[in-house]
């Protein structure tokens, strides 16, 4: 049990929606990871589809580098399309 790898779980709540990260499970292999994800995260009808992926297969940004990674975007508010007045008909797009 202690050497079971960790798997990240993604769940699609309804048809048409994206899979969203729900949490993680330990499991000895992919098949059991799917089973554990089903038993852990869809007990209350939370989903219609599950993805699992080995946590070690996820390439993540380094929190220590978040300054260089994300701060440059902070000063560029013109990238937000908030300076246009939209016709009411498309206001809720």
């Amino acid at each position: 049990m202690y050497d079971w790898p960790l798997w990240e779980v993604f769940i699609r709540a309804r048809g048409g929606l994206d899979h969203r990260h729900a949490g993680s499970v330990h499991a000895p292999d992919a098949h059991m990871a799917l089973r554990h994800a089903r038993d852990t995260y869809t007990r209350r009808l939370e989903g219609v589809s599950i993805w699992v992926v080995r946590s070690s297969d996820i390439v993540a940004s380094d929190p220590a580098q978040d300054g260089a990674m994300f701060e440059p975007a902070a000063s560029k508010i013109y990238r937000h399309p908030t300076f246009y007045v939209l016709p009411e008909a498309v206001d809720h797009m």
Binding site: V25, H26, D29
Partner: protein, 250 residues
């Protein structure tokens, strides 16, 4: 009162109730949190089935008893579950083998019951069969992994198979009431499911590098209330609160 239908429904309901109660004992003790939740899910499926079946049994009986009255106010010798269901959890291998045997049997049985001319029973079975197929897959997955795992897990699985095999004859026993319902076409004879059971379980065990024991154990008795000593202890835990406070409500 349709006595044989009442008894047949009680047998079905008691199997689910007693095995569900057994699995609840794993809560907080399973090898991992994921397996803990998995086993609790199985237990809740079974207790849900028991509620539907025993409520129906109470209606057929016509004496005003519902599922709670039948679950909490009968003694061991009045329970009609199979001997397999009441066996202690043992180690994880024993729980897996018990569930492999039960769920493989029950998913075939409920598939047939879903086509019963008794509409109420067919409706309950149609819901239960989906749950039980998952149970059978769950147990088969673990049986394969443990059988094909380490030397220790394999040895424990072999021991568990040897232990639970002695209760399989009772699992497939058609007592007089069940046979009477079968003669009316309401339920299939359990014996008619046994070949498929042994074929399916053998195929799973073969993938796990294990095999069914060959020894024949002629033990029966669960359906007529002759239980092992384990059932009374289980009932004492399950029934203590409603027996001490019969009027208590949530």
């Amino acid at each position: 009162m349709d006595h044989s239908l009442f008894r047949a429904l009680t047998q079905l309901g008691d199997d689910s109730l007693i095995l569900g109660q057994r699995l609840c004992e794993w809560c907080g003790h399973a090898p991992t949190i994921e397996v803990d939740l998995g086993l609790s899910n199985l237990a809740l499926d079974l207790i849900g089935q028991a509620t539907l079946l025993l409520d129906y049994a109470g209606e057929v009986e016509g004496g005003g008893r519902d599922a709670d009255a039948l679950a909490f106010h009968r003694n061991a010798e009045q329970f009609a579950n199979c001997l397999l269901a009441e066996q202690p959890n043992g180690d994880f291998a024993r729980t897996v083998v018990r569930h492999l045997f039960f769920a493989t049997y029950a998913s075939a049985l409920y598939e047939a019951l879903a086509a019963s001319p008794d509409a109420r029973l067919a409706e309950i079975a149609a819901k239960a069969v989906k749950e039980l197929r998952y149970h059978a897959d769950f147990a088969a997955d673990w049986a394969e992994r443990l059988g094909d795992g380490t030397e220790e897990s394999r040895a424990r699985m072999a021991e568990a198979l040897d232990w639970h095999w002695r209760f399989v004859n009772d699992l497939f026993h058609d007592d007089r009431d069940w046979a009477a319902c079968a003669a009316r076409g309401l339920v299939p004879l359990r014996q008619s499911l046994r070949y498929g059971f042994e074929r399916d379980v053998s195929a799973i065990l073969e993938r796990a590098g294990l095999a069914l024991p060959r020894k024949v154990w002629p033990i029966v008795g669960g359906r007529s209330g002759q239980h092992s000593e384990h059932l009374s202890v289980l009932l004492a835990t399950m029934q203590v609160l409603p027996r001490a406070h019969p009027e208590a409500v949530w």
